[in-house]
């Protein structure tokens, strides 16, 4: 441990890596190289000032319409237009590099925040942009971002998801303490930590525990696939509250007993996934979100699954858009391979299943937005996106053959990213 620290210290003082613009990748390399024996403490850079006064919480209202309609509102079209441009111009061109470096560059994150992604779900009264709660807008935005790159989309959306959690389940004091930072100019990295490193993980049966103490809770357990955990200043952590089932807790990153361990994975590398290890972390009583109500937690799990569905749809669309020109240009046996039914039908099935995934995701989102029960719809959308999304990722590589297997083309990255769908829990909220 001591020698690891020494090496790290040396590297940190090096001017070479600054001159070569390598600091971020180098830090990442160190972080990963030492992940088995070395744990870092959480980011300590901001103190959230708790304001007294318990104003009533501000929440977004829902809207209702009786007509079957697949047309986005004008507002949604405008927002999605801007986000799509960002995804095309910034995320897609930078995706390969971010994947290799296992980090989303700061300027990308800054631009994403400038777009106001964290503001959409925050009520206007609390300084946000949202005048109406719209899971549909969140889904459309996530889909558009993932068309650029899923890993960076996850990194960009992570703070927004914590803002959404605060907007939906925070009480007046919690909102006043934390929400203003998400609407300010320097938005903190923040993450929603639900998953745990365990086969057959079920978010309704958590290993992480919160035990009541005299004036709060003691948190123990390990969370998995936490987005940009090493940089995050605020976590929303899911833990089994001894007498009330799973619940969400606000945990500041400088809490004693909280450690971060890099957890680089098959894909989503630009999201800088990590484990958050809580060992006897002491939390004051007011860190419990949503009064620990089972309904709030279930809604959190569902909205999170919904967000991952939206990402699957966006990345699935990226695959389809990429393979179409490829199979029309690539020739074999003297003609474009698109002229062969086995190839053409594979493309057709990508199109068919992708559209089904999209509609199921939109339906779940529109029900959530209207305040209707959406447990069924989100479960079905998730199932579709896990199965067909992965198939689309796999066929994307297959249609390019050997060329799909090498990093000259993005399909191998989409293949790795799409495997996250159906197993990822938490991280994002629609």
């Amino acid at each position: 441990m001591g020698s690891a620290l020494a090496v790290l210290n040396k590297l940190a003082q090096s001017r070479v890596i600054d001159r070569l613009g390598m600091r971020k990748p180098a830090e990442r390399a160190v972080f990963e190289a030492t992940r088995t024996g070395f744990r870092t403490v959480g980011a300590v850079s901001r103190t959230f000032t708790r304001q007294t006064g318990s104003g009533s919480p501000t929440r977004l209202t829902d809207r209702r319409s009786g007509r079957f309609d697949l047309t986005p509102t004008e507002d949604q079209e405008m927002i999605v237009g801007v986000v799509r441009e960002f995804a095309d111009d910034v995320l897609r061109p930078g995706a390969e590099r971010a994947d290799a470096a296992s980090v989303t560059p700061d300027d990308v994150l800054e631009q994403a925040l400038e777009l106001g992604l964290t503001l959409l779900e925050v009520p206007e009264d609390a300084g946000g942009l949202g005048s109406e709660r719209s899971a549909t807008t969140a889904v459309l935005v996530a889909e558009a971002l993932a068309h650029g790159d899923m890993g960076m989309a996850v990194a960009c959306l992570s703070p927004a998801s914590v803002a959404t959690a605060l907007s939906l389940w925070g009480d007046g004091a919690q909102q006043q303490t934390y929400l203003p930072t998400f609407t300010g100019s320097e938005i903190p990295a923040a993450a929603l930590a639900v998953g745990e490193p365990r086969p057959l993980f079920d978010p309704f049966e958590l290993d992480t525990t919160a035990v009541r103490t005299g004036d709060g809770f003691t948190l123990n357990g390990t969370k998995s696939m936490v987005v940009r955990a090493a940089d995050a200043e605020l976590f929303v952590v899911a833990a089994q509250l001894e007498d009330a089932g799973p619940a969400l807790f606000l945990v500041e990153s400088d809490s004693r007993g909280l450690e971060i361990e890099a957890e680089p994975a098959m894909g989503l590398r630009a999201a800088s996934l990590a484990r958050v290890i809580c060992t006897d972390v002491t939390l004051p009583w007011h860190t419990l979100l949503g009064d620990g109500q089972p309904d709030a937690y279930a809604e959190c799990v569902r909205l999170s699954r919904l967000a991952w569905c939206a990402l699957a749809v966006g990345t699935g669309q990226a695959v389809l858009d990429y393979v179409i020109p490829y199979v029309k240009e690539r020739e074999a046996f003297g003609e474009p391979i698109a002229h062969r039914q086995s190839v053409a039908f594979a493309v057709a099935n990508i199109g068919i299943e992708l559209e089904g995934m999209r509609l199921a995701t939109y339906r779940a989102a529109s029900r959530a937005e209207q305040g209707k029960d959406f447990a069924r719809e989100v479960a079905l959308a998730r199932r579709l996106c896990a199965e067909h999304g992965m198939r689309i990722g796999s066929d994307g590589v297959q249609l390019l053959g050997g060329h799909g297997f090498v990093k000259e083309h993005p399909v191998e990255r989409w293949y790795r990213d799409l495997r996250a769908i159906g197993l990822a829990e938490g991280g994002l909220l629609a």
Binding site: R63, S65, G66, R67, F68, D69, L70, T71, P72, T73, Q76, T136, L200, F201, D202, P203, F204, A298, V301, R302, L320, I324, V327, K328, P336, A338, H339, Q341, A344, F345, V347, A348, N349, G351, I352, E353, E355, G356, M357, L359, A360, Y362, R363, A365, S366, R367, Q370, K372, A375, R376, E377, V378, A379, L380, A381, R383, L384, E387
Partner: protein, 403 residues
Amino acid sequence: MINLEPPRKLRFFINQAHQVAAEFVRPLSRKYDLAEHAYPKELDMLASMIDGLSESGQGQGAGAAGVRRTDNGDDSGVRNGTNLASVLSIMEMSWGDVGLLLSMPRQGLGNSAIASVADDAQLERFAGVWAGMAITEPGCGSDSAAIQTTAVLDGDDYVINGEKIFVTAGDRCDAVVVWASLDRSKGRAAIKSFVVEKGTPGMRVERLDHKLGIRASDTATISFEDCRVPKANLLGSPEVESDQGFAGVMQTFDNTRPLVAAMAVGCARAALETTRDLLQEVGVDADYDRTPHLQHAAAAAYLAMEADFEAAYLLTLQAAWMADSDRPNSLQASMAKAKAARTANDITLRCVELAGSVGYSEHELLEKWARDSKILDIFEGTQQIQQLIVARRLLDLTSAELR
């Protein structure tokens, strides 16, 4: 604004259709599956009731003829009209029984064809006629441009010669819409559709097929021997010009494929509901929130089936919604048909497996639905034809490039 719930204004109507399916259609299901070729006389009364509802405006314009595209005065371009009403009511009726739905008087696919391409005068002349659809021939199926049946103009009549097979409701209907070529040397541009009324000399129902499923519905072979029909029975333009004519008859499919997709959705839902009940009886239930992998394998299988069902259902609504909003929907119609039909087939077969001998025996209707569903992935364009259409559209390839 994005909303994928069935339209609020149609809820009463859908509920009504469900009542009819539950109280009237479903109880007749096994009877006419066993008594193939027996006429389900009970349907006459039901058809009259549906006609009555249409007259009174309570039918929401749904039914085989509900696919006609009309100008809509709505500036927003977003409408929930007769196409949505049709697919939603067909889903309910097919939940009752697909075979009986196909035997509903005056609700034939020929009625959809007439509604799609007839001019106003023809529409009026053929009002109230029960029309079947005659396209397939012994020598051609999916390649409908290769049909051999001819129609030759002679004075004020067309003289039709040829043989048609697989005509749904061909024995019971009042008329059939026949595809025939005006000039076989001109290829598909010369293919036109003609309304031939029963009793026309030279037209003969040769035989009825015995089938795997939808046995309540008659499937006929019809021959035409110097069969003379008035010139005015040709639907659409009589001109043989480029591919416009064929495009016209093919346009029918954009309207009828969502209807067949709706049949598949209804049939699949019937199987899913029965299977869920049967599984619950043995203590297995599916939980939407919990990880499927931690649930009973049968529950996980059920959730996987229901997911594909959901996709099929929504794709079908999308295709109909686009038709209502007067947007081109060929791609979406074929996507819906492809997904719904293969899903219905998979689901009904899997449900039989899950229910074991209970599903396989005639005690339940599961085995029947598994037989019925197969045709849905074949008629109105097979799975493979739908994939061809979808692929050509997505890849922007012609039928010469992608054959």
